[in-house]
């Protein structure tokens, strides 16, 4: 039984990766699971300089999910290079660094971080064009064909020897447009979906719970939206798709792969159960056994539409 996946040239043992922002740089989860068993680790969104993020409260529970407005807090790429990267290298797992353009959020800032990442011993770069919780960058580029194409082109120029993955937002009318923007700019792959912009109100206080009023909705609540968008995007582009959005277990992994994802990422599930990624891998293997499937690659996009 073969579970290996080649995603944009990144060789993964299985299709299960952990989504940016839900796994930090892996240290918290390493007390519960063997990081070497994962398909890949996608780091917390990292910028050239440290970024503070938003005031508390910045997480809350919702029906079948949660919201966050962390605001891309991170210690900066130098800290990552000195502290986290050497530690992560002890594990036999591809490292994909998620990055963004810092406080500035400009194209130049995206290019600068990509220029640094291009020199590191990492396996891929995911550029975040889809965070709903920051003032600059991300959604300013991420919602249109032209915006995604422009910034991806600029990053592609300096990312000469790493796979480039573009992480897309679901806060659009037509997901195929930003997907094509990424492909036409030379991205190696796309990942979707990031969180849906949402709001939760404390009716006693008549105020939103999160400090910046809105936040990104994640968890099982958004899964059907994500499956639909993965299906649409994977049929609109030729580059491979990493699917995410509310994946909790092996069955969910299979569903995303049938919809067209070549690999997947688990996000909020990591917060609920630090072992959920490992359990999902076991669930995938169980599905393959039950269905006598020799190679997991054969189920990618294998959904038969009515």
């Amino acid at each position: 039984m073969r579970t290996e996946i080649d995603f944009c040239g990144i060789k993964m043992k299985n299709p299960v990766t952990v989504a940016s922002g839900t796994f930090g740089y892996g240290r918290g989860h390493s007390e519960f699971i063997d990081l070497s068993k994962l398909g890949a680790i996608i780091t917390k969104g990292t910028s050239l300089n440290p970024k503070t993020g938003n005031k508390p409260p910045r997480v809350c529970e919702t029906d079948s999910g949660m919201m966050n407005c962390i605001g891309l807090e991170n210690p900066g790429v130098d800290y990552f290079i000195n502290e986290d990267l050497p530690w992560l290298k002890q594990f036999n797992t591809p490292i994909i660094v998620n990055c963004f353009g810092g406080v500035e959020g400009t194209i130049e800032a995206y290019v600068e971080i990509c220029r640094v990442l291009n020199t590191l011993p990492i396996d891929g770069v995911e550029i975040n064009l889809s965070c709903p919780n920051v003032k600059a960058g991300c959604l300013a580029f991420g919602t249109t064909y032209e915006g995604v194409k422009e910034i991806t082109t600029a990053c592609r120029k300096v990312l000469t020897n790493k796979p480039l993955i573009v992480k897309l937002t679901p806060n659009v009318t037509d997901i195929t447009l930003p997907a094509k923007g990424a492909e036409d700019a030379g991205a190696d792959g796309i990942s979707l979906i990031n969180t849906l912009t949402a709001m939760k109100i404390d009716i006693e206080k008549r105020k939103p719970i999160l400090s910046i009023n809105t936040g990104g909705l994640s968890g099982p609540a958004i899964k059907p939206v994500a499956v639909r968008m993965v299906y649409q995007a994977s049929h609109a582009v030729k580059i491979p798709v990493m699917g995410l959005g509310g994946i909790m277990n092996g069955d969910d992994v299979i569903e995303f792969m049938l919809a067209g994802a070549k690999c997947i990422s688990m996000g909020s599930a990591n917060l609920v159960d630090p072992e959920s990624s490992i359990k999902a891998i076991a669930g995938v293997e169980d599905y393959l056994r039950r269905h006598n499937i020799d190679d997991i690659n054969s189920i990618i996009g294998a959904v038969e539409m009515n």
């Binding site: 503070t52 409260p57 609920v272 159960d273 630090p274």
Partner: protein, 262 residues
């Protein structure tokens, strides 16, 4: 040896302390063996999707192979938890938190708790037995909410209880009694847990009197293990305009009161 565990724990005992406040005892030998005063648990209250995130709840007492925690029913999650019965299994992450109360020999210690914030202080008070002369200051809104008076009397040198409305023992806030006592003799350290206004008052008082102070904080939490960085608390920086955060789950929940801005 692992420092954190994920365990399916059997509920050994449930006690309704007063309306809406429950004490649960769970079997968790691995956690009980290494847990420190001030640490907390992340409890999965539903495995069928009624709630999504775990509920962070402080450890009340470590008892051989068991751990006790006390919680107030505040919403859907704690409501579901309150209906669990002896013999039921709950999934627990713990012991969580790296910032814990400093248990060592002191001459005189003041412990101050407000409302349900008194519960995370019990294990600390217990561990300080024989190490310090401890006074427990407990503040409640009214007589009906006064809880665990006897339990704290058994493990501390003296218990002071105040109620906001004067319906039981001293009228007013616990910190006012602490302030009065300090006029005669200052404690070596103050340990605090409770509502934000109380913590702010304790923090300010400790600073003005130059008394070391450790406070247990809370914030809405995602993972409990430092991955999502959801539970941020602002920390003191050299440049007061610079905003920097620590995290309640990873760096706390117990903080040096001079290091945080609450």
């Amino acid at each position: 040896m692992a420092s954190k565990y994920k365990l399916d724990c059997e509920i050994l005992d449930t006690t309704k302390i007063i309306d809406g406040i429950y004490k649960f005892k769970i079997k968790a030998p691995e956690i009980a063996k290494i847990a420190k005063a001030g640490q907390f648990l992340e409890i999965q209250v539903s495995s069928t999707g009624e709630t999504f995130l775990r509920r962070p709840i402080s450890i009340y007492n470590i008892d051989k192979e068991a751990v006790e925690f006390i919680f107030q029913v505040k919403g859907k999650g704690t409501e579901i938890l309150s209906h669990k019965k002896v013999g039921d299994i709950i999934n627990v992450l713990g012991p969580l938190g790296n910032g814990t109360f400093t248990v060592k020999e002191y001459k005189k210690v003041a412990i101050i708790g407000g409302g349900i914030g008194t519960y995370p202080l019990y294990e600390l008070a217990k561990e300080l037995q024989g190490k310090a002369e401890t006074t427990m200051y407990m503040g409640f809104r009214n007589k009906g909410l006064v809880t665990l008076e006897k339990e704290f009397e058994e493990v501390t040198s003296r218990v002071v209880i105040t109620t906001d409305d004067g319906s039981y023992k001293e009228k007013g806030f616990a910190i006012n009694v602490l302030k009065e006592d300090c006029k005669t003799e200052k404690p070596d350290i103050i340990f605090a847990c409770g509502p934000l206004p109380m913590l702010k008052a304790v923090q300010e008082f400790a600073k003005s009197e130059n008394i070391p102070c450790e406070m247990s904080l809370e914030e809405r939490m995602g993972c409990g293990i430092g991955a999502c960085v959801g539970c941020n608390v602002r920390i003191v920086t050299e440049n007061p305009d610079e905003v920097k955060y620590n995290y309640v789950c990873k760096d706390g929940p117990v903080f040096d009161s001079t290091k945080v801005i609450i």
